[in-house]
């Protein structure tokens, strides 16, 4: 991939802005990506504002109305084994799960980009040490890292974010490192060197912007992976503590009721699938949009 969007038309009109750029137009054509974006936006809005509009809170226990079936009464999506409103819990859980997904992604991207860039730019000994460090981290299965984190802190939102970030930055570093190494040999980079530009300037101003495409794609896929990872962490017992709901722990506690109250598992499962799928679509669309060769 070449990186920066390639302007295929030469025009005398006003310079193209973001919304009219070929990249964005390609993105818009990718129907699934658009669907994904819309979905995520709606989901985020629902999770942020929704709970305020509902009559029930996510933690109020009402033993007498437990296991209410969805669409059959005052609780739109039914109630859980303790009688709590599922829709309220779903939206509150969404806040947590989406927040965890984004934060984990930001941290993973941050670490991954820095490590990858430095390793790819300097190569040699520095590069070797850094990439071997990446390899070392990859040697630890994620469940082992879960153990590590649990050794230091008890399960909580920050510890889970940290854990997910720790298990996903390595791929980013790898991708970035390969990309930077490849870009370094290109003419524009060589030109910057010959101008006497400082290393930092070359890395940040010349190379990084041209590596944006794979980075952005990796970011969206990272969020998708993070949301899914949160549900696995809950499955292994290190998830968000009750009574705080998360999509992962809602799904996890619904396992035992698969046959008696399947909606308990279907609803958070659907939410996870929807969110993750949407992010994947966006990532896909971005990959196509930023891939100039397709023009």
């Amino acid at each position: 991939m070449s990186g920066a969007p390639f302007v295929s038309e030469v025009s005398l009109g006003p310079a193209p802005g973001f919304w009219t750029s070929p990249g964005f137009r390609r993105f818009r054509r990718h129907k699934l990506a658009v669907f994904g974006t819309v979905t995520i936006v709606l989901l985020t809005l629902a999770c942020v504002f929704g709970p305020m509009l509902l009559p029930y809170t996510d933690t109020f226990i009402d033993i007498r109305s437990r296991f209410a079936v969805p669409f059959s009464g005052p609780h739109i999506l039914g109630t859980d084994p303790l009688g709590r409103d599922i829709l309220a819990r779903l939206l509150m859980a969404g806040r947590i799960s989406l927040a965890v997904g984004f934060s984990a992604m930001l941290i993973a991207m941050g670490i991954g980009i820095v490590v990858g860039m430095v390793a790819g730019f300097y190569e040699g000994a520095v590069g070797a040490v850094l990439m071997r460090f990446v390899d070392a981290m990859l040697c630890f299965p994620s469940i082992f890292l879960l153990l590590a984190i649990s050794a230091l802190v008890s399960p909580s939102v920050p510890s889970i974010v940290l854990l997910i970030a720790m298990t996903s930055w390595m791929e980013v570093a790898r991708v970035v490192e390969a990309q930077i190494r490849s870009l370094k040999t290109r003419e524009f980079a060589q030109a910057a060197v010959s101008f006497g530009a400082s290393s930092r300037r070359i890395m940040l101003r010349e190379l990084l912007p041209n590596a944006v495409a794979p980075i952005v794609v990796a970011a969206t896929l990272n969020v998708a992976h993070a949301i899914l990872a949160e549900s696995y962490i809950s499955f292994l017992g290190f998830g968000i503590q009750p009574p705080t709901p998360s999509w992962g722990n809602m799904l996890e506690s619904a396992q035992s009721y698969l046959t008696s109250a399947p909606w308990l598992a279907i609803i958070p499962g659907a939410a996870i699938t929807l969110a993750v799928t949407s992010f994947n679509f966006i990532g896909d669309g971005l990959r196509d949009a930023l891939d100039a060769r397709l023009d």
Binding site: L32, G124, R132
Partner: protein
């Protein structure tokens, strides 16, 4: 090239050492220990627990314990499991067969279906087939496997009775047919995600290749489309797949933790999960080293292949 290999080997050995140190430290510093399970029962008193901890050598300073472990490892003794006192190598190898069986079949299945779907999707880009395949893949990638596994058991085993509900074979019937029957459930669940991943990879790889200049040239020359696809495009599209396979080797052997738990499949993934839960230190360290060697090997192979595929990236590291 030789220099590169030797350097990498040296680096890898150093890495293994560091990984073992960090791993050992994390494992022993994590709260709880191999005796926690007995504290829960109430039958062993504190005096009993302390005595056993002493006998296991758990009270010695960590560096001493590590040094002893390392010394033993280097002379080939991977230690003995705290749980059944078997040698760690025996414990690992006795679970390896099950994992290989499951992972190989599911990967082959996933590659076969996924590659075909991906290639077709790339060729008929933006068609209905491509759209459905894409959506299908995305959804498959987004479903938590533990949930899916239980659904498969409930629908196909408890509900329809078509498949057994778990384990590797039915007691009393070790025939090949029976084993294959038991393999279906977990294989499908595992293959679901892999198929999606392979189809995405193949599609993107094919797309990369199909738009290259040499393909356009071949088309301009009038070479039949079919020949273009099969002879030129496919071969070049498969190359990155090999690289990715190299990287996936460690995953292959770490097993599918979750699927193995749900389907009671006696593989490495579940062994690792159980060993960590019970703080069976020797076995955990054994599996950690095992998978570390595989990761480093896979990484080395991947780098070698990148270098082969793209001469611009030389083995300058």
């Amino acid at each position: 090239m030789i220099g590169f290999l030797i350097r990498r080997l040296g680096q890898s050995l150093l890495l293994l050492l560091i990984v073992s140190m960090i791993g050992f430290a994390i494992l022993h510093l994590a709260p709880g220990g191999p005796l926690s399970q007995f504290a829960a029962g109430g039958e062993m008193t504190q005096a009993d627990l302390d005595r056993i901890a002493e006998q296991l050598g758990l009270n010695r300073p960590l560096p001493v314990q590590y040094a002893e472990w390392l010394w033993r490892m280097m002379s080939g003794d991977w230690g003995r499991s705290y749980r059944d006192q078997q040698s760690v190598l025996h414990v690992i190898t006795s679970h390896l067969g099950a994992t290989l069986e499951l992972m190989l079949t599911s990967t082959l299945l996933a590659m076969a279906i996924g590659a075909w779907v991906g290639i077709l999707g790339a060729i008929k880009r933006y068609s209905l087939f491509d759209a459905l395949a894409t959506v299908g893949a995305m959804v498959a990638l987004s479903i938590p496997t533990f949930w899916f596994g239980l659904v498969v058991i409930y629908v196909f085993s408890v509900g329809l009775g078509w498949l057994p509900a778990g384990n590797r074979y039915t007691v009393g019937d070790g025939s090949l047919l029976n084993q294959l029957h038991h393999l279906i459930g977990p294989c499908i669940v595992l293959a679901l995600v892999s198929t999606a991943v392979w189809s995405r990879y193949m599609r993107s790889s094919m797309l990369d290749v199909v738009n290259q200049d040499y393909i356009r040239t071949a088309r301009a020359k009038g070479v039949p489309e079919r020949q273009i696809l099969l002879r030129h495009a496919l071969r070049n599209a498969l190359l990155p797949m090999i690289t990715i396979t190299g990287l996936h080797v460690p995953t292959l052997l770490s097993g599918a933790l979750v699927t193995e738990t749900v389907f009671a499949w006696p593989g490495m993934g579940r062994l690792f999960l159980d060993s960590i839960s019970y703080r069976d230190y020797p076995v955990v360290m054994g599996i950690l080293m095992f998978s570390a060697v595989l990761v480093l090997l896979g990484s080395l192979i991947a780098d070698l292949l990148y270098g082969v595929a793209d001469p611009r990236i030389s083995g300058s590291r």
